[in-house]
Subunit: 203 residues, 4 copies
DNA sequence: GATGAATGAGAGTTCATTCAT
DNA sequence: TATGAATGAACTCTCATTCAT
C-alpha cells in the first residue's frame, strides 16, 4: 500500500479513538508502521493529515453526488438515496464518522481548506429540493433550511451512534443502536415526505 | 463577582475562541484576571472547568424544562417554546453555543458527568411528544426519533451560526445568518407540525 | 496545647510519613488543625519547622547527657545506658527516628543550625571513652572512631526498623524486628566490651 | 559516550550536590549537555533516573561480591577486603557515596526496585561470618547483627566524610578527614577481629 | 525516501509564602 | 493572633518538528 494511504488509515484509527489533540504523531506513526519522520515526507504538519482525511472523504461524497445527478428519479428517492449512502459509509467506516463529527470544529478552527468543500454538499441537496419545487412535487419552502435539517439529522444520528456505546447505563431502553438506524432514517424520510410533498393533484 | 463565576466566564470565552485544547490555563487565568494557581483553588483540573461549564448550562435548561412541565398548552407550542428558548440562550451567549457544540465530544471522551445529563433533556421532548400521541394530537411515531431530529436541527443551526462568520467566502448568499434564525426555526416547526399533527377531525 | 507544639507534632507526623519535600505546609497545617498562615506566625519558613524538630530532639538528648555526667558508673554501663536511652526514645516516637535518619541530610544541606549540635553528642561519647582509657579500663584507641561506630550502629538499626516494615517479602527471616532490637543492642555492646575492655589485671 | 551514561553521570553530580528533590530535570539536562526531552527518551521519569543510579551501583558491588566468593582466604581478610572495596569506590566517586547515603530513604519511599537489591549484599557478609563460625574461626554470634554493624560503620563513615566538608567550624580537630579513613577502617576491623575471632587453640 | 534520536517551547499543575480581613 | 484565598515562580513531563545518517 502506498505510504501516504498507510498513514492516512493509521491516522483515522488513532484520531477517532483519541481525538485530534491526543493523537500524537508518535502513535500515528507506530500504527502506520512507519517512522515519525516519514509522516513529514508526506505531510507538512499534523494538521495537514487531518485536512487530507477530510479531503479524501469529501472526494468520495462528491463522486457519489456527481454520479447521482444523472439519476432519473423522484426528489424523495434521491434524498433517501443520499441518506442511505451516508449511513452505509459510516457503518462501513465508523472511525470516519467519528472524525467527521468530532473534528470538524477543529478543522474549521485551523481553517483547513477541505472542510469548506463539505458545505457544497448541502448545496446539492438544496438543488434537488429546488428541482422538486420547480416540478411542483414539493411545496414552496426554503431549500437551504431543509437541507440544514437533513444534515442535522445525519450528524445527530452519528453522535448518538458514537457516544451511546459507553454512556447508556440508566436509560438503556431509550438509546438508539445500530439495529434501528434504518428505522430512524425511514422515519425521518417519512417526516420529510409527509411535510414537503405536494399531495397528488386530485382529478 | 464570585471568583468561581469569574473563572467560568473567562473559560467560556477562551474555550469558545480557541477550543478546549488550545485554551491554556494561563490564558484562562489571564482572561479571568486571576493567577493560575487560583484556578486550582476552585477546580481540580482544566477538565473540571469544562465539566462545570456544561453543568451550569444543564441546570439552566433543566430549570426551564421543569418549569415548562406546568405549562398548559399544546404539544406544538411546547416544542416551539423549547426551541425558542434554546435559540435565545445561544443568541444571548454565543460562546456557550460554540462550546456545547464543539466540546461535547471531548466532554464525552473525558467521561464528564455533566454531559450525561444533557441526554435527559431529550427525554423530556420525547415525553411531550408521547403526551401528544396519547391525546391523539400527534400521529403515532417513534418519539425518540423525533426528538433526535429536533436536537439535530438545533445543533446544526448552531454549527451554521458558529462557522459561517469566517467561512463564507464563496457561497456567501447560501449562508444563514442571525437574521433568519427565527425563520429557520419557524420552517422547522412547520415541518414538524404538518408532518406529525393529526388533522383535526372533521365534523 | 501551645500552638507551636501543636504544629511541631503535626509536622513530625507528616514529615515522617511523606518526607520533608512531600510534606506540604497545607498538610501540616491541616494535621495541626490550624490555618496555613498560622504556621508562619511561629516559623519563618518550612525549613525552620524542620530545624525546630531537630532542636527539640537535641535538647532532650543534651539534657540526658548532661544529667548522665553525674553518673558514677563504669564506661561500659554509661555507653550501654546511652544506647538504651536512644532506643527507648525511638520506640516511643518512631516518627522522630524516621525524621532524624531521613532528613539529616536535608538538614545539613540547608545548613540548619540545630543539626550541628548533634555532633556534640558524639563528643560526649568520646569523652566517656577517653575517661575509660585514662582509668585504664579501656585499651588505647581512637575514641572518635569508636564513637563513630556507635552512631553508625544506632543509625543502621533505625534504618532497618524504618524500612523493614514494607520490604521484607522474600528474606523474611533475615529481617530484624522490634522484638530483637534489644538483642541487637546487647550484641553490639558485647562486641564493644570484649574488644575494648582491658582485661582485669591478674594478681 | 552513550547518552544514557551521560545522563546518569550528570544526574549523579546534580543529585549529590542538591539532593533528589532540588535536582530539577532542567539542571540535570543542562549538566548532561542534553535537552530536557532527551532525558525522557531514556527514562520514563525523574525517579527512574535515581533507580538507575542505584541499579548501576548495585551491579558493581554484586560483581565484586560474586567474584569474591571464589577467594580463598580468612573471613577477616574478606570482610576487610569488602570494606576496602567500598571505601575505594566512594573515594573514587564521592558523589555516589552521597547519593547512596542521602537518597536511600527516598528510594525506599518510592519503592524503587533497585534499592531492595542492596539488602542482598548484607546477606553475603552474613554468609562470610557464618562460614567463619562454622570453621570455628569466629565465636558464635548473630551474623545478621554483625553485618548490620558493618553496614552502619560504612554509612556513618560516609556521612562523616560527606558532611564534614562544610560543617566543621567549632570542633575542627574532632573531624575525620580523608587522610584517616583508612585508619578508621583499620580500627573498626581490629575491633571486629579482637571481639569475634576465636583465639588460636593453645597447644 | 526512510529513519528515529534529539530538541525545547510550552503544557498542566503544585505549593511555599503573603496579606487583607 | 488567626485565617485561608490569592499568588506566580517553578516544577515535571509531552510532543510536533527537525535533520544527520
Amino acid at each position: 500500500m502506498p505510504k501516504k494511504e498507510q498513514i492516512r488509515e493509521a491516522a483515522i484509527k488513532i484520531i477517532a479513538r483519541d481525538g485530534f489533540f491526543n493523537a500524537t504523531t508518535d502513535k500515528i506513526a507506530k500504527e502506520a508502521k512507519v517512522a515519525v519522520g516519514t509522516l513529514y515526507n508526506y505531510f507538512t504538519s499534523k494538521e495537514e493529515i487531518l485536512d487530507y482525511i477530510f479531503a479524501v472523504e469529501f472526494e468520495k461524497r462528491a463522486a457519489f453526488y456527481q454520479n447521482m445527478k444523472n439519476w432519473r428519479m423522484d426528489w424523495f428517492l434521491k434524498i433517501n438515496g443520499i441518506l442511505n449512502f451516508h449511513l452505509q459509509e459510516f457503518q462501513k467506516e465508523p472511525d470516519i464518522a467519528i472524525i467527521l463529527l468530532a473534528e470538524r470544529m477543529n478543522a474549521h478552527r485551523y481553517g483547513l481548506t477541505s472542510l469548506a468543500n463539505f458545505s457544497q454538499l448541502s448545496l446539492i441537496i438544496s438543488a434537488i429540493l429546488q428541482q422538486g419545487i420547480d416540478e411542483k412535487k414539493i411545496r414552496p419552502c426554503n431549500t437551504q433550511n431543509i437541507s440544514l435539517f437533513i444534515s442535522g439529522f445525519l450528524n445527530e444520528l452519528l453522535f448518538a451512534i458514537t457516544t451511546k456505546t459507553t454512556a447508556n447505563t440508566a436509560a438503556e431502553n431509550y438509546n438508539h443502536n445500530f439495529d434501528n438506524l434504518e428505522q430512524s432514517l425511514d422515519e425521518f424520510c417519512t417526516l420529510l415526505k409527509t411535510s414537503l410533498a405536494v399531495s397528488a393533484p386530485e382529478s
